[in-house]
Assembly symmetry: C2
Homo-oligomer: 359 residues x 2
């Protein structure tokens, strides 16, 4: 299916061969196109053939995982680029495409060397255009990743108390996700309490939870290749009136954007809906990041939901909506849900309560 759609696009653009080169799992498109979940591999897609080159660590795994339309090529004692050249010599492409934002300069130079005069064209969009629009099966997988994360979060709440370390809470949350089927956390869990909550990316540290702290918990699970990404801000003990007031601003901005979201909007229009509410409350300077981003095989994928992105949000995209207000030295607050956009409007795929929970 995916392969058919990629070949349609290749034909439109006159591309004879597409190369997807993954190293250490940095290029999830390899899984998207071939079904292979290993970390290292190279796929070559021509108009009528499709290969995955893997080394001996992955022969048995690839045999189990590969989509039927993909032929496994065992690297044996050959070098990867020798094997790529062998396939190039067979296909004799005139135009070769590759992921321009993934392929390293060094590998691009190697490709040029062996391409025998073929034209080389960056073509990320051959794959990313497809990945933006989630199939029903992909949405279901994201929903599973959300459920695993939410259930683990609810379990972790039982351990929130003064004196426990941020890192201990993160360990519990990640353990509960893994127990429920997560391959791994979608990213290093952010648990940022007290003054650290004002760090938008405050990974869990040795800091103890203290009386009166707000705690930003930003977490997600990766299950069967797909990611969730959620944030809740919770309080411990006596939370200040200022913090409660700012919480309400973030909550309103977040909920309003979630409800207003729909396919067909420009990304920046959605960002503006939340940003305007925070601006008008006087905290515009304290919301420095974008409203959100798409999720799927990667935690951060396009389109991003930023003030400057003029792309249309397509039907079938799944985006995070995560406004925040950060007051350095005092506290920070962020609330984040994962939302499916359709022609009709939005469907919030996540379901944790948005009210401030105090422990």
């Amino acid at each position: 299916m995916v392969l058919d759609k990629i070949r349609e696009k290749m034909e439109e653009k006159g591309i004879d061969l597409l190369i997807i080169y993954d190293r250490e799992g940095c290029t999830p498109s390899l899984f998207y196109v071939t079904g292979f979940k290993g970390e290292d591999g190279v796929s070559l897609i021509s108009r009528d053939k499709a290969y995955l080159i893997v080394d001996s660590r992955y022969y048995a795994q690839a045999r189990k995982e590969l989509f039927p339309s993909i032929t496994m090529v065992e690297l044996g004692k050959k070098k990867t680029w020798e094997m790529i050249k062998k396939i190039l010599d067979d296909v004799k492409p005139e135009k070769v495409s590759f992921e321009g934002s993934r392929l390293s300069y060094k590998n691009y130079e190697k490709l040029k060397e062996i391409a025998d005069g073929a034209e080389l064209l960056p073509g990320d969009e051959l794959i990313t255009d497809l990945r933006k629009i989630k199939t029903q099966e992909e949405v279901s997988k994201i929903e599973v990743a959300i459920k695993v994360a939410q259930d683990a979060f609810n379990e972790m709440l039982n351990y929130v108390k003064v004196g426990i370390k941020e890192r201990e809470l993160a360990a519990i949350l990640e353990f509960e996700m893994k127990k429920r089927g997560a391959e791994r956390p979608a990213f290093d869990t952010i648990i940022a309490s007290g003054w650290r909550s004002a760090l938008p990316h405050g990974k869990a540290s040795e800091k103890n939870i203290e009386e009166g702290d707000l705690i930003v918990v930003d977490f997600g699970a990766k299950v069967d290749g797909y990611n969730s990404d959620l944030t809740r801000t919770i309080g411990v003990g006596k939370v200040s009136d200022k913090a409660k007031e700012v919480y309400e601003i973030v909550r309103t901005a977040q909920q309003t954007a979630c409800e207003a979201a729909r396919a067909g909007m420009l990304a920046k229009e959605l960002d503006t809906i939340a940003r305007k509410i925070i601006d008008e409350a006087g905290y515009g300077e304290n919301f420095g990041h974008s409203l959100g981003h798409s999720i799927g095989l990667e935690v951060h994928e396009g389109p991003i939901v930023s003030a400057s992105n003029e792309d249309i949000l397509p039907s079938g995209s799944v985006v995070t909506i995560e406004p925040g207000i950060y007051i350095e030295g005092e506290f920070g607050i962020r609330i984040e849900d994962d939302v499916l956009l359709t022609e009709k409007g939005s469907k919030c795929l996540s379901s944790l309560p948005r009210d401030l929970m105090i422990f």
Copy 2:
């Protein structure tokens, strides 16, 4: 210190400016050079100045983490490439270097566009040559990462029994590492039991541990930026005589290589020591991967210890020694330690027993 050494190399090669571009934490050299632990940032090192460009998510964090010699540049509402251009216009370099194996084709093209005719030269080795040789401080950090992983492994052994899932064991192991200070697992934990142990990269799955299984446990912790990487193969219940015999071959190959390792050897010489023992025992075809690789800020870094690598292993390098024998459909065995190489010989930094443990 690091900066001085990089500048020495820049001077040797006539490089006026070095750019390190990180996205999503894929380029740990950014941390090595600047001290910044965030995921996104760009560092520019000239002969007399050093900058780190970060966006608003990271201002407070960068202020705390940056080495004193690095100046933080706040991105504000500017685009990253605008800011890079501003610094280039100021430095007016004639030769600009970058990480050729990290910078994407797309970013290379952007750099070329704004470089105003400066010569662009890939220069990974400006940093990787330094990273190969660990300082005493770096070795200590790797030792901490090893201790965290070993203690967690020993705790996990209490849970090994028929009926528990591979994934549950991985969850326990990763939880115990995190509790002891790991930022995260160094990589997705491999727990491969029974027939799955013959997959050299068999990430923990839903499979239950069964009577008679061998279990390959390949795991590591990342602590304060540095990684450990260890493997032990354990048995459950009645392990076959063939498995025990093959275990002894792997153990001998691994121990012999650990003891023979020393700085000044060619990487391939070290690989050969273990490979010869496995070859002569008749299992050469079942040891498809390299003997090992260096570890440090990355789990896999150079030099790798492979049959074809003719590089000299320098004093101060820390390498894994991890031979394995894999018999598809039956079982696999791997044993791995982390070894510091010095002029005098080797020091095994890890200390789990090598004898087959049966539960």
